[in-house]
């Protein structure tokens, strides 16, 4: 049954903290527009909870002027407008926030849970910061805070949160694994691997840590050992986790397994554009003759990649939309797939590019590494 206010009594000061005075103007002005927007969002949130609706609305509007796609601010603004009776405006905001979150990229389905989620987690970063200031000496607020930061690429701050959690319980296995993830994101692979080794020594069936150690090992140039981890992960993942199994198989370059798993995954999750793309790529690399699938005309990045592989989108159009490092790697990988059957040299060139420039956590980087290893140097 539902909780009563016992918890509330336990950490009463939280409500007071929400009502803390908004940060002074001077703190808003430094940093990138995104950083400024985040600070304005934080202050708007505090004012909203503190009952200063007008001040909150002003801050949130300023935040959104600097960063119109800051979905957390869009959502908070919608809640504020809703509470003020501006229901129609609010409704538009709620929907826009959900659309923005849905359009955000997320990590591979085989990775640790926190990388598989979409969002900016600005609200969570602020909220858990408040909680951890008040619920001291506990693990959850630190880990949740760290996860929100790490998911946003703020690995150094995440590391600090995880270390605070480990001060509470230095042997806490999950906190050690998360610290390893933060270290890996910071490029401190040897330290990360050492932590992952310890976690896996106590629980060899921890599939998420096997994946993480594989990535760190790959980044350290230890492809064979990375493959051992991913193979172990693949062996442990249940048959029902078809998307995760497909992703690991893709990393390993086990194309026939990847093809079969993505065939199931695309049926279970028809809205995920990666599954038909990876299925087609795996099938091609396995030497199968596959009819080009119907390519959605929704302009999504995955649709462009699929269109490229199906011969409906040109290389230049694809690269034009490859506006981030990750997208560059994804595009180059598929260009390698397209060339593999007819021109291995071109495929090798693209895949080398993926390996040299892509983030080690990307499925494409692992898959390209294994493809290159098979082609020989």
């Amino acid at each position: 049954m539902a909780d009563i206010g016992i918890l509330k009594a336990a950490i009463g000061p939280v409500s007071r903290l929400w009502r803390r005075p908004a940060a002074v103007e001077a703190t808003i002005t430094g940093g990138t527009p995104e950083e400024q927007a985040r600070r304005l969002f934080r202050d708007g949130l505090a004012k909203f909870r503190g009952g200063d609706s007008a001040g909150a609305l002003a801050d949130l509007d300023r935040a959104l002027a600097l960063h119109p796609d800051l979905a957390d601010a869009v959502m908070t603004r919608a809640e504020l407008l809703d509470s003020l009776g501006r229901v129609e405006e609010a409704r538009v905001g709620y929907q826009r926030a959900r659309d923005l979150w849905s359009a955000m990229p997320c990590g591979g389905a085989d990775r640790r849970y926190l990388f598989r989620r979409r969002g900016q987690f600005a609200f969570e970063i602020e909220s858990y910061d408040v909680v951890r200031s008040n619920v001291r000496g506990k693990i959850l607020p630190q880990l949740a805070h760290g996860n929100a930061l790490l998911a946003r690429g703020r690995a150094a701050e995440a590391l600090d949160s995880y270390e605070r959690a480990l001060k509470v319980d230095p042997k806490q296995r999950e906190a050690l694994a998360l610290k390893g993830e933060a270290l890996s994101a910071l490029g401190r692979y040897a330290e990360a691997i050492a932590l992952f080794d310890g976690v896996l020594a106590s629980n060899p069936k921890d599939v998420e840590t096997l994946n993480a150690r594989g990535i760190a090992r790959l980044a350290s140039g230890r492809l064979a050992e990375a493959n051992e981890d991913w193979q172990a992960q693949l062996n442990l993942l249940p048959a029902s986790s078809s998307a995760a199994r497909g992703c690991v198989a893709m990393r390993l370059g086990n194309h026939s397994v990847a093809y079969a798993e993505f065939e199931v995954a695309r049926t279970k999750e028809p809205d995920n554009g990666y599954w038909p793309l990876y299925r087609l790529a795996a099938g091609r690399l396995a030497g199968m003759v596959i009819d080009a699938p119907a390519v959605p005309g929704d302009g999504r990045w995955t649709s462009l990649l699929l269109g490229y592989l199906a011969g409906q989108v040109g290389e230049d159009s694809l690269l034009e939309q490859a506006i981030s490092g990750d997208r560059q790697a994804e595009a180059r990988f598929q260009m390698g797939v397209a060339a593999a059957a007819t021109n291995p040299a071109v495929a090798r060139r693209h895949w080398k590019d993926v390996v040299e420039r892509g983030h080690p956590a990307l499925i494409e980087v692992a898959a390209a590494s294994n493809a290159l290893a098979r082609l020989g140097s």
């Binding site: 049954m1 918890l7 926190l114 609200f123 693990i139 998911a151």
Partner: protein, 525 residues
């Protein structure tokens, strides 16, 4: 689109449970529009001889509620495995996981709420199915608004959910009901357990509710903590639906003892949660190995089974009434009217699992014949175990197994002992001062001996794996010579003579007299 998961038992949890539960069941069904939608009610630990809670209030439910509701019945014997570890009679985590395991796999969402909630879509034209169908994957909560007890108790019509939702739209404005109570993360709102919508896939991935939480409270917060970690965010549906709670604190519920309330450790289950997963219960959550009975309210109901059984066994009465008497001098007369008594016997057994093995020890052959017909007619598939020691039983009765008493004792899950006169004919009047014939005496002696042995040995002769005491039903044991015999060994309530039936578990009597009685019964002295 979604499965609503609720739990409870046929007891009196809090003030006017029946009304608020009926209001809630009907209102939840009212906002369903997808053919796959379902309400899963786990009826946890209701005594075997009681109907489940929804069955007990079925007449107050709408046809739609009855159609979408699946009742999953967890018997006391299943709960007994936890009985020594908890003071509670209903376990939330286990109940919700049992439902999750058995939920419709076609449904994308699982909605966790309670039997006192009404959900009001803000857009009148939308159902909750529409709402959940239109939002992205996530973990959603809504704030809970309270309804003063006077309002829901006095003004709601249980069977008019649409009208009740309309009233709430009106009251929310007139009486300022809508107050959002924010909470600290990961609990987005206060009283979060009354609306937590999660993907079914996510719930399977994180291994359901934590089944080590057996002291009550905070199960919802633990789920929120783990899903907040897993999903990264806790989203709101406050723009789509308002959730109203029928306040019921006039009388404290059994799990609310004020400051003395025992509860699960907050630190362990909320603030020191470190992972969404519970690998220790990955293969066992929701009791996948246990066959859980499923009961529907729109078909094959206990009433239908009860009447089907009796229609097979007895003909309608041809007289306006029959007569019996409590006159003192009739105390020794063991005649009784079988067609009148049989419905009360069937009433004692109809709520038991259909595969129950029932030991039937009887003196009257016509009772055995009639009961066997009724047993089959009620849809029971378990055997009727009639000890070979009972003589005069017709051969070839369907579903009857004959074997020595000692062999059958360890198979029986329920007992019926009938103390009638083997020589009574169907047409003779009852309780007119008839004597006991030698044949009657012989047969009754067997029934009495087997009854005493069964009662005395109940605790050490249970079927393998059974943890709870078996129930004894005595037929023709009120206000006659077997009244004392039966109640010396069975803890039965006082029943009206007219029913002719007493029932209960074996009596626990640790006095010297009780011990002597038990010893003598065990050895049939």
């Amino acid at each position: 689109m979604f499965s609503v998961i609720l739990y409870g038992r046929n007891d009196s949890h809090g003030y006017n449970l029946h009304k608020r539960a009926a209001i809630s069941f009907n209102a939840l069904a009212e906002v369903m529009s997808d053919p796959d939608d379902e309400i899963l009610f786990v009826d946890y630990n209701t005594p075997d001889d009681h109907p489940t809670f929804p069955e007990a209030i079925h007449d107050t439910l709408t046809e739609k509620a009855k159609k979408v509701m699946r009742v999953l019945r967890v018997r006391p014997d299943e709960h007994a495995r936890h009985r020594l570890q908890t003071h509670l009679v209903a376990l939330e985590s286990q109940s919700r996981n049992i439902a999750l395991r058995r939920s419709n796999p076609r449904n994308r969402w699982i909605l966790y709420t309670n039997t006192d909630m009404l959900l009001v879509p803000r857009n009148k034209g939308e159902s909750l199915s529409d709402i959940l169908g239109g939002v992205p994957d996530g973990f959603y909560q809504v704030p809970r608004f309270e309804i003063p007890e006077m309002l829901w108790e006095a003004a709601f019509d249980r069977r008019d959910p649409a009208g009740n939702l309309e009233k709430l739209r009106d009251w929310s404005v007139r009486f300022h009901l809508n107050q959002v109570v924010h909470n600290y993360m990961p609990m987005k709102y206060d009283a979060l357990g009354d609306f937590q919508a999660a993907l079914r896939d996510d719930m399977f991935a994180i291994h359901g509710f934590d089944e080590s939480m057996i002291l009550g409270w905070h199960c919802d917060s633990n789920l929120a903590a783990r899903l907040a970690l897993y999903r990264g965010r806790v989203d709101t549906l406050v723009d789509k639906v308002f959730g109203y709670h029928c306040d019921h604190t006039r009388v404290a519920a059994a799990n609310n003892k004020g400051r003395a309330t025992r509860m699960n450790d907050q630190d362990r289950y909320i603030w020191n949660v470190a992972t969404p997963y519970i690998p220790e219960q990955a293969d066992s959550w929701g009791w996948p190995e246990v066959e859980i009975e499923e009961i529907r309210l729109d078909r094959d109901t206990p009433y239908q089974r009860f009447t089907a059984g009796l229609d097979r066994a007895i003909e309608p009465a041809t007289l306006p009434f029959i007569q019996s008497s409590l006159d003192w001098h009739l105390y020794e007369d063991l005649t009784y009217d079988l067609p009148h008594t049989l419905p009360f016997v069937c009433d004692q057994v109809v709520t038991y699992p259909r595969n129950t093995s029932l030991m039937l020890v009887a003196a009257r052959a016509d009772f055995v014949e009639s009961f066997a017909k009724a047993w089959q007619g009620m849809g029971f598939t378990g055997p009727l175990l009639i000890p070979q020691e009972c003589e005069g039983i017709p051969a070839g009765l369907p579903g009857v197994e004959r074997a020595p008493f000692d062999v059958q004792l360890a198979k029986a899950e329920l007992f019926v002992f009938e103390f009638g006169l083997a020589t009574q004919t169907p047409t003779e009047p009852v309780r007119t001062g008839r004597g006991i014939a030698p044949l009657d005496r012989k047969r009754l002696k067997v029934v009495e001996r087997l009854f005493k042995r069964a009662a005395a040995r109940e605790g050490d002769s249970r079927p393998e794996g059974r943890r709870t005491a078996r129930r004894f039903i005595g037929v023709n044991v009120i206000y006659n010579k077997f009244w004392t015999t039966f109640t010396n060994h069975v803890g039965a309530n006082i029943n009206p003579f007219c029913s002719q039936v007493l029932a209960g578990p074996p009596r626990q009597d640790d006095s010297m007299k009780g011990k002597v009685l038990k010893f003598r019964a065990r050895h049939s002295i």
